[in-house]
Amino acid sequence: VTLEQMLGLGVVVFPSLLLAILGLAALINRPLSERVISRCTQIAVVAGLVCAVLVLASMLISGNRNMQIEVGDWVVIHDPQVPFHFHLKFVFDRLSVPFVILSFVLTGTIGAFANQYLHREPGYGRFFILYAMFLVGMIVAAVAGTIEVLFLGWELVGLSSALLVAYFHEREGPVINGQRVWSVYRVADAAFLIAAVTLHHLTGEGDFSKLMGSEAWPDGVAAMTSQQALFVGILLLIAAAGKSALIPFSGWLPRAMEGPTPSSAVFYGALSVHLGTFLLLRVGPVLNASPLLSVIVVLLGFSSAVYGVIVGRVQSDVKTALAYASLTQVGIITAEIGLGLPRYIPLIHIIGHACLRTLQLVRAPTLLHDYHLLENAIGDHLRAEPSAWERLIPARLRIAIYRLAIERGYLDALIDEFIIRPFERIFRLCDGLERRWTDFLTGTESRESDRVPAAVPEPAEELA
């Protein structure tokens, strides 16, 4: 193992160690102090960042633009007919290295911010466990050399995000929103998994270097036909749309703002929301292989951007407005990818947007204070002038658009009406039929569960 590879492994190992330490302490019911948690987080993030920067330096010096670290087979079955192996492989190239460094810088900044922001919060430890899980997920997804490893990181990001949205779990609102975010993520995960299985079936490989050619990113040619690329690409696009809150999954993004501000900033404003576009960049050769797929990507990106602009303008709280501003930019980045612009353009766009949005979101709690400072500096109140568009569009149409925007495009309402309620109706009907059947067999009421009280009663005295 070379020094370069050791450093590459360090990028993954340090965040994993952080997760192991914080998770184990919680599991054995020995909560760590804020000081210890904060120190461990600092060490892990700085160590990981240093490793990533050294990997970059080493790659620049050596001229190697595609460093692959073969960890080995995690699981292998030497079956003569259908061999199976789950290969652990990490790739450091011109896509993953900037993304890893961006992840470390932003999570490190937010870790320091959260340390103050959540000081003496009852859920301080829980926040940092989920933070560590998110960091591991982001790093593993960024440096994944196979689609299975990417899925591993992808899932960790999803779970930590959903649980962080529900961080203030004593209120029902954040919990319901967390459940909603998780639902969208599960759809995205399912699409991702089916895409991975399909890729295996079509090409017999999950290794990116074999799927996309051995050339370093962004070069590479997908080893599949246009039709195959279209099918797999659409599944990956659904996965990316779910993770990046593109239409029709945009409803979860404002809901995610129920979480604590640090997590909103780094997860939904900066990193998590870009993971979908990162996936599209990683499988860029698949998009190149199908012009129709590229058109779909462009349309989805532009429509999400337009949606973000319209809906974002009518939001009355700053975090939600920023969420839609994020969506607009993510939509544009997606369109850039679909348009086939040089891949560095969307990558630079991601990095710039993530940094700006993180700054805006961490400043959000002090927005009024910032406005006052600004107005004091100007010496006058800030005025909201109607834009050129507002003057051009007829009043009735403006009202219609306003209504559409205030209802957030009815996306959640449509999902509720056409997916969730019919689903509930069908399976409640099945449940009713089952009840009738067991009542018939029993000859009396068969369900004790019908008499279970909704609220938990005071426990029996004997427990005391």
Binding site: A26, L27, I28, N29, W74, V75, I77, D79, Q81, V82, F84, F86, P122, E148, F151, L152, E155, L156, L159, A166, H169, E170, R171, E172, V175, G178, Q179, W182, S183, R186, V187, A190, L193, I194, V197, T198, H201, F427, R428, C430, D431, E434, W437, T438, L441, T442, G443, T444, S446, E448, S449, V452, P453, A454, A455, V456, E458, P459, L463, A464
Partner: protein
């Protein structure tokens, strides 16, 4: 004499059997609990030793069995033998019983029959260690009696359970009796019996009914070892033609999807658990469809992961129930601050069952998907099941543990025995997830043997009994 010269399997079965009689005579429930824990613990040690003796030194073990296998001498044939299929199932079953007893609160010991639990443990271990088809059928039939006795004792309705189990036992014995006369007809009857015991839709209502009326512990111990799948592998797989396996797999897949959907609309925690379990356990039978080594390996891996994860999941719910009574899922109960460890275990076990990365179930699900990748519809359905169950698990977690903090004057914290049970489950689920190779390898060897036996049977080989699915027994090795 080395440790391999001891009849570990027989000891693992006899200890709880004798213990059941012993514990029945004890008047003090606390003493009964303590003795039961010791007996189950020793049984677990014996089951582990039996597993190790299979993997390490076969020739010496075989010699030891020549000297010590009184059961075989008495009955004239090997009844209890550990092979690759049953080797990990025995410790898993023994562990499940031990942890259930361990996690039983002292406030519940008066109402919890430890004698009955030990008797059920002996029956289950005997079933898993058995290789003779008729003996397996008889043990499967005996295994259905203790839950019925408990239902009667609690004055609960028994008709749903009795009707289904009577049908199961009837079909099982009819299939066994018909086997020498008409192999295919016998296979059909045995398949029907297996489907009933596995709770395949629409014959699943006995399972929800059992969770409604029996104690949670009894229902859990009756369903989580998945003896239906065991019967499928021992009795049906070696003789069933491909179309029959495909039928089992299709019905199982439909059950998995249906149960996953039903779990999402349940109002009560036990019924929710029952459907989640049903959904996952059905996936084990899906692996049969492909009848390839990878498919079967996947099914066996999913079996272990689901057995462990959902047993832990069920015990977590049982621990919560022990403090609060039966739980409605219509409201948020806000129990996290009272029992954070249970909250974490709930997530770990629940996510382990859906195959979340880093848990025992992840590799099983990946293998299952790899095994069925040539059948895109099946792969899509499996992914959908995992997604739906993921939703259901988090939904239940939020309902039970989040919400306005539950106000109580009583300390609801976890007691140390429960903490031990929690940590053992977590260690196994996460440890198996992070280092899955030994488990997968062992399941692969079992799958290879199962396929070999099946091919020999289908090719008309008469020297292989259907119950011999799995590797040849230890004594056969020595004879070779």
């Amino acid at each position: 004499m080395t440790i391999l010269h001891i009849p570990w399997i027989e000891l693992a079965i006899l200890l709880p059997l004798i213990g059941a009689f012993w514990v029945r005579w004890l008047r003090d429930p606390d003493t009964a609990r303590e003795h039961s824990l010791w007996i189950s613990g020793l049984s677990l040690v014996c089951a582990c030793a039996a597993w190790l003796s299979l993997d390490t030194s076969r020739p010496s073990a075989a010699l030891a069995r020549e000297q010590w296998d009184y059961v075989a001498r008495w009955l004239g044939r090997d009844i209890f033998v550990v092979d690759e299929l049953s080797a990990p199932l025995l410790p898993l079953a023994a562990l499940l019983f031990l942890l259930t007893e361990l996690a039983t609160l002292r406030t519940k010991v008066r109402r919890f029959s430890f004698a009955s639990v030990l008797a059920r443990e002996a029956i289950l271990l005997a079933t898993f260690a058995c290789r003779q088809p008729w003996a397996i059928a008889i043990l499967l039939a005996i295994g259905t009696i203790p839950p019925w006795l408990e239902l009667r004792e609690r004055n609960k309705p028994t008709r749903v359970y009795v009707l289904h189990m009577a049908l199961f036992v009837g079909l099982l014995f009819a299939g066994m009796a018909l086997q020498p006369l008409h192999s295919q007809a016998a296979a059909v009857l045995l398949m029907a019996a297996v489907l009933i015991r596995s709770g395949i839709v629409p014959l699943h209502c006995w399972m929800t009914d059992l969770f409604e009326h029996a104690s949670f512990g009894t229902a859990l111990l009756f369903v989580t070892p998945m003896v239906g799948a065991y019967a499928a592998l021992r009795l049906v797989l070696p003789i069933a033609p491909d179309w029959m396996l495909r039928s089992i797999a299709l019905l199982s897949l439909l059950t998995a999807v249906y149960a996953a959907c039903m779990a999402l609309v349940q109002h009560e925690a036990r019924r929710f658990f029952c459907y989640v379990f049903l959904s996952h356990s059905s996936l084990v039978l899906v692996g049969l469809e492909v009848a390839t080594t990878i498919g079967l390996t996947a099914a066996l891996c999913v079996w272990l992961s689901v057995g462990l994860s959902l047993a832990g999941f069920g015990l977590t719910l049982r621990s919560v129930e022990a403090r609060t009574g039966r739980l409605s899922l219509d409201q948020f109960h806000g129990l996290y601050e009272h029992m954070p460890m249970l909250g974490i275990l709930f997530l770990v076990t629940g996510l382990g069952s859906i195959g979340f990365p880093g848990t025992l179930g992840f590799v099983g699900t990946e293998l299952l998907l790899d095994g069925v990748r040539r059948i895109p519809l099946v792969a899509t359905a499996i992914v959908a099941v995992a997604a739906l169950n993921g939703l259901a698990v988090l939904h239940a977690y939020f309902r039970v543990f989040t919400g306005v903090r539950h106000v109580t004057s009583i300390d609801l914290k976890l007691r140390w025995p429960e903490q031990v049970a929690v940590l053992i489950f977590t260690a196994l689920i996460l440890g198996g997830g992070l280092y899955p190779q030994p488990g997968v390898e062992s399941r692969y060897h079992a799958a290879v043997k199962l396929i070999e036996i099946r091919q020999q049977r289908l090719a008309g080989g008469n020297n292989v009994e259907p119950g011999l699915a799995g590797s040849p027994p230890i004594r056969d090795d020595a004879a070779e």
